[in-house]
Amino acid sequence: MEKTWNNRAWFMVLPVLLLVAFSAVIPLMTVVNYSVQDTFGGNQFFWAGTEWFEEILSSDRFWLAMGRNLAFSAIILAIEIPLGIFIALNMPRKGWGVPVCLVLMALPLLIPWNVVGTIWQVFGRIDIGLLGRTLYTLGIDYNYVNDPIDAWVTVIVMDVWHWTSLVVLLCYAGLVSIPEAYYQAAKIDGASRWAVFRYIQLPKMSRVLLIAILLRFMDSFMIYTEPFVVTGGGPGNSTTFLSIDLVKMAIGQFDLGPAAAMSIIYFLIILAMSWVFYTVMTNYDAEKK
């Protein structure tokens, strides 16, 4: 069938264009403007050129925060993806267990991020928290307020608790979509449990896994609320991720120029990663067709 070309149809996207302009483009323009100027308040600005970008790119503070962020994303992906697959594989496919498991899995996802942070902040306290007090009673020297490793463990376990369910639900959706005939054929061929997973379940889950990896990576790379509530970026700067550092710089220190430059670098990294993931996903779809 001959495709009809009518470029006037583009006018249909004008409302959303206006919405994006006010919610994204104008703030982005403002940040770019701030990134090349200096201000001491009162809406008076002085040209600074590329000074803030040079300052950020040569600062250890930025690269350390970036390193922490990448390490955090890598660790939580290495835990959440295999764990999510494992739980999804062991969830019931029929009977009363299905709704029970689905509700239990959905629960952590329904809790607001700052509430999750507060729960874990109290949970980990050695004076009143169930986890902290129990570990203390068992003789384990755990204190996320003073010890950087304990702070990291707390933040990672909190993220795993909060977000593994998302991976589980996505993997489960992929698993239940596999026709029963595949399993019957595997059974006839005498395939092992591993072979069924490797050659039937994993390929059928690959698309949802890609989405899960994309979502978890982007989310963990932009994480702010939960670690901020639990550790406030400490002890020292040990859990200061990029977004926490950015807020400290912009609001805490009122260094709007360097903070704007850092925002732009951060934004460009996120944009590049989004494009890579989007391209991988769309091409994956194209290859499947």
């Binding site: 495709k3 070309w5 470029n7 104008i26 323009m29 403002t30 770019v32 403007n33 701030y34 090349v36 100027q37 201000t39 009162g42 809406n43 008076q44 600005f45 040209w47 050129g49 590329t50 000074e51 970008f53 040079e54 790119l57 040569s58 670098i265 460009l268 944009l271 590049a272 494009w275 391209t279 091409n283 194209a286």
Partner: protein, 135 residues
């Protein structure tokens, strides 16, 4: 689909608007002792903190988008093709890759070389030509 329309008039309109906008921004700049202060605020005490270089930067980005629209009007379809990245890209994809890559070229130049960005700009133009030719 190869369809060619009369694109000269839209192109002229787009370029005329760009020139008018840049001229308007230039008129906003304060003149002291017969010389323009190119880095002064375009709209003093405005919260958006517009300066001439950033206004020119965004005007040029919008010009590029408008030129892409004119190109699409002239030759509809986006000219999809499979290049060296081994997946299909349209003209819009190639512009996006060019702009994003140019941003990183400028950042890398600032971080590794120094503040003089003219060579980074030249490198970005070469890179963009390469993207439009081979990607």
């Amino acid at each position: 689909m190869t369809q060619t329309r009369r694109w000269q008039i839209p192109l002229a309109v787009v370029l005329a608007i760009y020139v008018a906008v840049v001229w308007f921004f230039m008129q906003r700049l304060p003149v002291e002792d017969g010389e323009r202060d190119w880095f002064a605020s375009l709209f003093p005490r405005s919260w958006m903190a517009w300066s001439f270089p950033t206004a020119l930067f965004f005007s040029t980005i919008f010009l590029l988008l408008a030129l892409m629209a004119v190109w699409e009007y002239a030759r509809p379809g986006g000219h999809p093709r499979v290049g060296i990245l081994r997946f299909e890209t349209t003209r819009g994809d190639r512009l996006f890759v060019s702009l994003l890559g140019s941003a990183f070229i400028h950042l890398a130049w600032l971080g590794l070389v120094g503040p003089g960005l003219w060579w980074a700009l030249a490198l970005s133009v070469v890179y963009a030509i390469g993207v439009f030719r081979y990607v």
